[in-house]
Amino acid sequence: MLTFVARRLAGLVITLLVSSFVVFGAVYLAPGSPIGYLTGGRTLPPETVASIKAQYHLDDPFLTRYWDWLTGVVHLDFGQSIAFRQDVSSLLAPRIETSLLLVLLSALLIVASGVVLGSIAALRGGRVDTAILLLGSVGIAVPSFVAAIVLITVFAVNLGWFPVFGPGDGLVDRLWHLVLPAIALALSSAAFVSRVTRTAMRAELAREHVETARTRGIPERLVVSRHVFRNALIPITTVGGLAVASLIAGSVVVEQAFGLNGLGQYLIQAVGSKDIAIVQAISLILVTAFVVINTLVDVAYALIDPRVGVRSGSP
């Protein structure tokens, strides 16, 4: 088990290194330069432009800049923002908080509602099943920004139960501000997870060992939890992990619609203004989060299914 986790961690570090190089390099391949942004589109004398370039090391060789950046990153120093002339770390800190809370809240909603609804659909069958399937179809079909507009119009403007925009101050206020965004974000993923849960549970319910357990007189409750649910967990975990990982990228749209000032929205802004340091920092954070989640999912497999991790440490 320990070697399994250790190998996973090694894989994580290698993935991050490669990703960091790709992230750093990709920004340079993109057209345009921060000069236009730094001059505000005004025409400046060439000496001034040259001094700006020197100030931001825009003309240094690529590998030099990559090395400078990488060594900085290891010390959690992501450099300086061109636009705001401040340390990237201080600019990102509040935004990471908001995005993290949003993703956590959404993940909770996705897992809780997805798994619960999917299980109910599988266990009850009949009309309940159809109703939940229908609800799921609507959920999958509605894009997050449309959901955002509807939620804002109904719950924020008309009913006034939630604020229209903003991340809020303090934990409780923040959670209140994030309710609508979390719902908008979770909607399609929750529907998807409920579908997969339903399918997995139904597959397990049809298995022989379940019938056997029932004939042995084991209470239905235990049959469901130990024999059905636990076995269905592998595909559910896979999909759940993918859904949560996709939240990281999907949050951009919701952050924009609700004016949350999170990482995703900030990334788009920084790309538009060629604020290189910010783009690289946020990209690296997102890649790290994605890789970490996948690693956690792998570890979860090992916990759920004891067969995984014992057989030569694969997958």
Partner: protein, 561 residues
């Protein structure tokens, strides 16, 4: 002069998606809603003229604890006056930092932190106003003035206002303890007016030197003389201003103790925030939100006032079909400006052929009005347009037009032009560019070579001096995207910029304008009005574009009964 920072914070992907939803709302809204304010079907001339001379909103009845204001173009990049040349920056800065001269709500100029005297055609003397202190209590001195102005001329600092406004300044000296003398290399009738903008903003020298590069950032803050002081700036979140107890102007004491600025750029979210009251008001009301805001539940008001902005397709220096004046005239005739102003701009713009908006007539009004009346009326005539295309030899080359991807008005107006151009036999291709790439076109002539024209909305620095907008169509300006060299325009603008006599200057400007319109150096679509929305809680904000430099927030207070 364009407000480039305007577009720098939008997200094109989300916008396109929301555009679909909003299009439905807007179209329904424009169909059902009455044509209140701005122009109505075609014959809105009376309304339009009225808006262009509307400068204020209903006065408040009393004080208020605070209010929240929106910045639709997003968070300011910097509040340092030398870097504040955009709507977001100036909307905030105007209440904190004051300038040598003051631009009033009616766009006239009067003495601000200094009294102005024209000693000779090339010598301007500014006498420090006595009794003025910065918000930390230190007195305003001639040293602070010289230092603040000179920052604009320091190449290392790369001030956005340096060119062209400081081009004719030879020296700025402290001529006595209370006097600053500016010597010009030639007469410059625009300079003093620019001293009423952020180009002439004065800050405390000691404080600026102490803060160095951080001045104007969330870390360094500001130290100025205005009715409000910068209280806090949470990057990405909000900016808070606090009333300045030491403010010198008795007649303009702030009525709100605190102002919070929110950076909501998404048009739909902003509209919702305004209708729900989470944001109390905003300038730069997005066209898509207008129909929703005309009638809000809490009695909010949408007011249209004098503006200096124009929307145009500006030909670049490329020698394509647009190099032929007949093709430019044909495209101008193919624009249904009335429909565009009504549907796309939702009544917030007035059809026009000139970049010099009537809102910019702050002197010699009669001369400007006569000049405007003599201009050809905006006409929509596809037959005539087709004839001109024929006369020009029916060019088959594609006309490429670049536009910013982020706001609907650009895409909608360009598409209207494209479909009508097709009807008259011209091939038009639209290139929707992300903000950064589009902004490149403003200062890189090589990048402009790929396009025949750019769709722009510019505001002539927000001052009521048409020379600023019109000079961009001459070699006198770095923003002469079309490399235009019409002597009739250039010589008249050059003469106007040297002429202090208001009437004579207006005559030269009018002559330049006529020449520019005749050769369609700018295929102008409309003059955009200045819109301000105030929710049911507040009133008093100026309706004109003076909000960029006048301490507008000091006028805002409780709406009352």
């Amino acid at each position: 002069m364009e407000s480039i920072e305007q577009a720098s914070q939008h997200t094109s992907a989300v916008r396109r998606g929301l555009a679909a939803a909003i299009a439905v709302v807007a179209v329904l809204g424009s169909g059902c809603g009455a044509s209140a304010g701005g122009s109505s079907d075609g014959d809105g001339a009376a309304d339009d003229q009225k808006a262009q001379t509307t400068y204020s909103t209903k006065a408040p009845t009393g004080a208020i604890d605070g209010f929240t204001w929106g910045l639709p173009y997003g968070e300011p990049q910097s509040l340092d006056p030398i870097k504040s040349y955009g709507d977001s920056e100036n909307t905030v800065l105007a209440n904190v930092c004051e300038s040598l001269q003051r631009e009033n709500p009616d766009l006239s100029i009067s003495d601000g932190l200094a009294t102005f005297k024209q000693q000779s055609p090339t010598t301007l003397v500014y006498t420090v106003r006595p009794g003025v202190t910065f918000s930390d209590g230190k007195p305003l001195t001639a040293d602070d003035i010289v230092y603040s102005l000179e920052r604009n001329r320091d190449e290392q600092l790369a001030s956005y206002w340096a060119a062209p406004f400081y081009n004719n300044v030879r020296s700025i000296e402290k001529s006595s303890d209370t006097e600053v003398t500016v010597r010009l290399s030639r007469p410059d009738a625009v300079f003093n007016r620019m001293m009423a903008t952020a180009a002439g903003a004065i800050g405390e020298r000691d404080y600026i030197e102490r803060q160095g590069k951080s001045y104007g950032t969330p870390k360094g803050g500001l130290m100025c003389t205005g009715p409000y002081a910068l209280d806090s700036w949470q990057s990405g979140s909000r900016i808070t201003l606090k009333a300045n107890d030491r403010y010198w102007d008795e007649k303009l004491q702030p009525k709100a103790s605190q102002i919070t600025f929110s950076f909501v750029t998404d048009e739909s979210t902003l509209a919702s925030a305004l209708t729900s009251g989470q944001i109390d008001g905003t300038y730069d009301v997005p066209a898509a939100a207008v129909s929703q805001l005309r009638e809000t539940a809490d009695g909010g008001t949408l007011t249209f006032g004098a503006g200096t902005s124009f929307f145009a397709f500006r030909p670049t220096q490329r020698k394509g079909p647009l190099a032929d004046v007949r093709i430019r005239q044909a495209l101008s005739l193919a624009l249904d400006r009335k429909a565009i102003a009504r549907v796309i701009f939702q009544g917030t713009a007035v059809p026009s052929v000139t970049p010099a908006s009537p809102g910019a007539w702050s002197y010699a009004r009669k001369t400007f009005q006569e000049g405007y009346d003599r201009l050809p009326k905006p006409t929509f005539d596809l037959d005539q347009a087709e004839r001109l295309v024929g006369q020009a030899g029916n060019p088959t080359a594609t006309i490429r037009i670049a536009l910013p991807a982020d706001q609907r008005v650009y895409a909608d107006t360009a598409q209207a032009l494209q479909s009508n151009a097709q009807r008259i036999g011209l091939k038009v291709k639209l290139a929707s560019l992300p903000t950064n790439e589009f902004n490149n076109l403003y200062y890189d002539p090589k990048a402009r070579r790929d396009y025949d024209a750019m769709a722009v909305q510019e505001y002539g620095a927000g001052v009521a001096e048409p020379i600023v907008s019109l000079s961009e169509f001459t070699p006198l300006s770095d923003y002469n995207y079309g490399d235009l060299r019409d002597p009739a325009v250039t010589d008249n603008i050059s003469l106007a910029s040297r002429t202090y006599d208001d009437d004579k200057r207006a005559e030269a400007v009018v002559a330049a304008q006529a020449a520019l319109v005749k050769t369609e150096g700018s295929i102008t679509v409309a003059n955009v009005l200045n819109a301000v929305y105030q929710g049911g809680k507040i009133t008093g904000a100026p309706a004109s574009i003076s909000f960029l430099y006048y301490p507008w927030a000091a006028r805002v207070g409780a709406r009352g009964g």
